[in-house]
Symmetry: C2
Subunit: 241 residues, 2 copies
């Protein structure tokens, strides 16, 4: 990564902020060297452990962050405690909205996570200066919108079996975008989180996982380690035909 950076730019100006270190993508990817120098002065790298909140529902948002590592879950909660996960964010996604000061949802680390945090005024100034950056954020919003709408179809019209398969497929494709025929990965969510993402109960998720295992669509070790021998078969089980 470091080598590539040198090859392309062949100079001493930074191409990522100090806190992000060698990671491209996210906000850093579209800034000028001068903007990166400025950003580096105010950004800090932070570790957020699984289960900790990044931003609470209804809270004032004082900072923005790039995800460097791990998975963040975005969720909404009703007054009586019913909860729905409305999105998952992976590196190098951006958390927070310039010029919107109140969050309508809770962002919480699903796994242990590393983020690069900037103060609000800095990122807002960069957005005003750089139409590139707004374009980048606009594109992420459109990607999130597409994902949200795909998930609405899953929530509204799929069976419990298809929902669980859809979830396993979604995670697989996000963790490894080059799709081979088979793959093995660590689930970033507990059964309770999966249930909240799928609009099901823990017990139903468990039963459907067992069924998919018995049918040979997946193998499971230690509750979290999933092997998908045939991605196309999983996709079919998810109802994506």
């Amino acid at each position: 990564m470091d080598m590539m950076r040198k090859d392309i730019h062949n100079s001493e100006v930074p191409v990522v902020c100090r806190s992000c270190e060698a990671r491209h993508g996210g906000v850093c990817g579209v800034l000028t060297p001068q903007q990166l120098v400025e950003l580096s002065k105010h950004s800090t790298r932070k570790v957020v452990h699984a289960g900790n909140e990044v931003v609470g529902q209804g809270e004032r948002v004082a900072s923005y962050s790039n995800i460097l590592k791990g998975v963040i879950k975005l969720s909404k909660m009703m007054a009586d405690g019913r909860q729905q996960i409305v999105g998952l964010q992976f590196a190098p996604d951006f958390i927070g909205r310039p010029f919107h000061h109140e969050s309508t949802l809770t962002a919480e680390a699903a796994t242990d996570t590393e983020v690069c945090v900037f103060p609000k005024p800095i990122i807002e100034r960069l957005v005003s200066e750089s139409s590139n950056l707004e374009h980048q954020l606009h594109n992420q919003a459109l990607k999130e919108l597409d994902e949200a709408r795909d998930w609405m179809l899953t929530l509204g019209r799929k069976t419990a079996q298809e929902k669980v398969a859809s979830f396993l497929y979604l995670i697989a494709t996000h963790l490894d975008p080059e799709k081979g025929e088979s793959m093995t990965y660590e689930l970033p969510l507990s059964r309770a989180d999966i249930a909240d993402f799928l609009g099901l109960t823990i017990e139903t998720v468990s039963r459907q996982m067992t069924k998919l295992r018995k049918d040979g669509v997946i193998q499971i070790e230690n509750n979290r380690l999933v092997t998908v021998p045939d991605m196309d078969r999983l996709s079919r089980a998810a109802g994506n035909d």
Copy 2:
């Protein structure tokens, strides 16, 4: 409206495109007079009757449009015919995405609709020229994202009763944003569409409407005309505490 326009601008330059006529908002609202002149040369006003497609799922998109009047439903369909409405668009929303050439969903008129249509290259040039316009589209995308996520909570975690009440509340607030205590309106969707929006069957929607009527939360005339005597009560029935 025309009078207001004159008062504010006091000149002969257009403030909306020819086809949109006196309507502000949507794309027109953020363009310069020169851009509006340019846009007017290529835009056409079009009537789309209820049930007709504006853009089909997977089709190449050759144009963009502003909704002037009526309601457009955005939906996704599975191979076996199961359908989910993933969004409703009202005037003056914009339909279409600059630089994305394939639609991932179907846009269909729910009611008789009027739209102002522009060819793709025109709007893409205007977006490149005007950061204002991208900002406007970005904001609409964020609004749609918020609405999609709110609806995910409804789809995943609410009961049939709460879903139907949520729908009636959603339509009421979109058709008349100044919320009085009571209101009467024409439903823009059939029972079948409501079912597809809520992830329910027609029969369940009907039963829950009947129940809300018998409980005095709403009154219904001629299937489509709904009166809500107490919006707060409807909101509570929708689970929005």
